[in-house]
Symmetry: C2
Subunit: 507 residues, 2 copies
């Protein structure tokens, strides 16, 4: 009975098939779509669009909240429908086309995309496609498992297509808090001073006459594909909780710490999970993606409230959470990503921000996005919004990747997403480097002593010594050797080759 989900009767006549709805999208258009980290993306219409793309020649610019589930980015990319994509993605097939220069990928701070659209520096949005559990009497729409950029897309698009997802309960109503900052130069403060504050409305306001089509779907979110905690990620979690315990002992933090933010992926999830085995209590989260660990912490009685922009859960957790939703509902809020990631709120609340690095360098610069300097992985996502403005900015990574052939700590990161000023702690399974208040030469010593895998200590230690002796400076670097480890991996498949070459040369 989808009619129960579409309160304005006038819209019943607009219910069409996904194929019909997709016809609103034409060559050259800019499409704004719901979806954030595999949660709450429109599912049926983009599939139909890809189908059409296999027969017809057209290209669009696709904007979303963040990455999509249901292999949508893959399917759209392979149908050659994407000319441009922003502000984030995490799909191997799309990634391949981006790196081949076939899709122009505009990687952005996740809080900024809608600011640029509103001020007409980007856009306009021709069509918005928004997944919803319900259209309310007044035309406003209740989103599903993410908010992302949906509110702004819907409010500013020429036409709106709503996908009603019948697999999700209308009980989700009340979980969302839709607040859009007022227009500059008349903008006031964002009225959030605690993760649990609500500033806006439970649904996205929309004049029903702007809804061009409604589609009924029954596809579920893809479940999260992250790996469970392992020995190394558990060690990282332990280093962080030991450090925080010490901060509490020094009375810099209370035993409920500060609101926590955790990035996407396996490592950040494992680190959050690690808080279960600590004495901290009455924790709160002011984060972006809420993963399984959020609910593990609720169930363990550790977490009192979580604010995010999406719910991205494993299959098992997903089933349990939605079967038992009333248990969590009043401890959760999902906000537009502009608000979950807003510098104003992040700085005011004083977050502890935990994000994952692909690689970090001895001076504390972090690369979150580019493998070997050129190949895009996913995008910077919200990590820049959080790292710059947090009370404590933590980056975690295993000390090596690819079975030890890559060291995640290098002399000079091959791409900088987070400069040294935005990085307070670097943690690997080897240990923790506390970089606060240190000059670059001191930072390097701390990173060398604590974070680097034993296989790479001499290689990097030699670089540091040589750079300090032969070049000096605030941040000693030997430019021709700065990327020597990356080049060794490229040429020999193993960064340790630098050490072998050096040993051979010494003989």
């Amino acid at each position: 009975m989808y009619q129960d989900r579409i309160k304005p009767r006038s819209l019943w006549a607009k219910v069409v098939t996904p194929e019909e709805a997709a016809l609103h999208i034409k060559d050259g258009m800019t499409v704004g779509m719901s979806g954030f980290t595999r949660a709450g993306e429109a599912k049926a219409v983009p599939m139909a669009l890809a189908e059409r793309g296999r027969r017809e020649n057209f290209k669009i610019s696709l904007l979303t909240g963040a990455s999509l589930g249901n292999d949508l980015d893959k399917t759209l990319a392979e149908a050659n429908v994407l000319a441009r994509r922003m502000p984030f993605q995490a799909d191997p097939a799309l990634r391949k086309r981006i790196n081949a220069g076939e899709v122009m990928f505009v990687d952005q701070h996740l809080s900024e995309t809608v600011e640029m659209i509103r001020s007409r520096q980007l856009g306009p949005i021709d069509v918005a496609i928004i997944e919803a559990v319900m259209i309310k009497e007044d035309g406003s729409i209740v989103p599903t498992t993410s908010v992302g950029n949906s509110a702004t897309f819907a409010m500013l698009a020429e036409k709106v297509i709503v996908e009603i997802n019948m697999t999700l309960s209308p009980d989700l109503e009340g979980m969302h808090d839709i607040y859009i900052p007022t227009r500059r130069p008349f903008r006031g403060p964002i009225p959030i001073t605690n993760p649990r504050d609500r500033a806006g409305m439970p649904s996205i306001p929309l004049d029903p006459s702007r809804i061009a089509a409604v589609v009924i779907s029954a596809k579920q979110d893809s479940c999260s594909n992250i790996a469970p905690p392992d020995d190394e990620t558990k060690a990282i979690a332990r280093h962080l909780s030991d450090f925080l315990g010490n901060e509490v002992a020094k009375a810099r933090l209370s035993t409920s710490l500060a609101p926590l933010q955790a990035g996407i992926g396996s490592i950040a999830n494992a680190v959050m999970h690690g808080f279960i085995d600590t004495d901290f209590h009455d924790l709160t989260m002011y984060s972006e993606v809420l993963q399984d660990s959020t609910f593990d912490l609720f169930d363990a009685g550790k977490l009192t409230f979580a604010s995010g922009s999406s719910l991205t859960l494993s299959q098992e957790r997903n089933a349990q959470v939605f079967a038992d939703f009333s248990r969590y509902k009043n401890r959760l809020v999902l906000r537009p990503q502009e608000i979950s990631n807003h510098p104003e709120v992040i700085r005011r609340l004083g977050l502890i921000a935990i994000n994952t690095a692909l690689e970090a360098d001895i001076y504390g610069n972090v690369n979150s996005t580019h493998v070997m300097g050129s190949q895009m992985m996913n995008g910077i996502g919200g990590s820049g919004d959080f790292a710059r403005n947090a009370y404590l900015s933590v980056f975690v990574t295993k000390s090596t990747a690819k079975d030890g052939r890559i060291s995640s700590i290098v002399p000079f990161v091959s791409h900088v997403d987070h400069c040294e000023h935005d990085v307070d702690l670097i943690i690997t399974e080897q240990g923790l480097a506390d970089l606060r208040g240190l000059a670059p030469r001191e930072r390097a010593k701390t990173v060398l002593a604590n974070c680097i895998h034993p296989d790479y200590r001499d290689i990097i230690g030699d670089y540091m010594r040589d750079a300090e002796r032969t070049v000096g400076g605030q941040t000693p670097h030997i430019l021709e050797r700065a990327f020597e480890m990356h080049m060794a991996y490229r040429d020999h498949g193993d960064m340790r080759q630098v050490g072998l070459d050096r040993a051979a040369a010494a003989e």
Copy 2:
């Protein structure tokens, strides 16, 4: 009659010589001192301290607002008194010791230092030395030509030394607005929604019993040492105003633009000066350092209000402004640098932020601090606070330095202070690259076409072509060649050598 300047009579007995006051400072102490970009630094006590340093062995950590005048950083460095220095400096003699690894320089976002002190991640401050025009009846102190970090230093230091500067008029009272954010987790919004809003008090609150010594001084601020506009900086200014005119034509901005921020130095000053010859009007500034150009714009009737953290003027302008202070006073406010640079306010107001790059790369990353990757120039200053959070983030630089032997546009910046996501426009005298909404490969083409000096177009064009063909990726780079121009300068004194070598090899 310095007694007129010290309202609490109980403090008259605390008036001592600079030498006596300096005895409060002992080996290993952390000293927080007033002073921001050659304005409002304590002058007599640090001089006496340096004098003592020439006879006695001791070292301190010195924190200020930003750079100091009166050759203080030089004098203190040469007296071997500085173990650590933060968060900014701009002195050649100190720079030399920093780059030699003799002084540990902690380069920080200027809005963050006091957050770290308040949360006890830095500090504690043993002694604060604050320049003032007056101590009021209630013990509160009226700062001079800068606010910087003085309020927090004074409020948190174990002991406070006040330097009364007799050369400045008590009429300065009323120009300052001292607002300190409330303590987390109970922090509320900062009540500033317009550059002219006042949120705090006209003086720094202080219990007079915490004042350990008062010193009377008659030294003036050093005047600013920036170069006047030249043909190249005028061209940069023109490119920017043409661009902004076009934004107004597209109705993205009004003719009063948005509040303006301009960085330190000659180029930023020239660019601001350039607004005199435009049709924009009723401009406002929400900036950090107010230079001559602010007053040029006031006098031209272009500017209605300016908010900053310091007044740093040429000798001539300085004399005129203070002779005629009532003319400007109600159009000016000086705030703590935490507030002038606060991400919350910058994002809310939607600033146009104009800062100077040492070098920028084809993908839009900016180096503001490190010459050839290792040698510190000044520090990141407030540029990161502004660039990340502005409505429009502009970086300006001449296309070459050192008589053309250095190109300020390179394939890969040798140090990253501002990542591609924080840079909207790059402007040189050659032209303007509008990078908004572009993917890295598109950004590179735009920078190549618009910003690079003709001597370097082929060198950089060749790199781009080779990197795209042989490596590809989102951000194509050939790691062994990424710094080839920097290495050519290091080895041959001229970056153009890369082109000469390539031509020779091709023969």
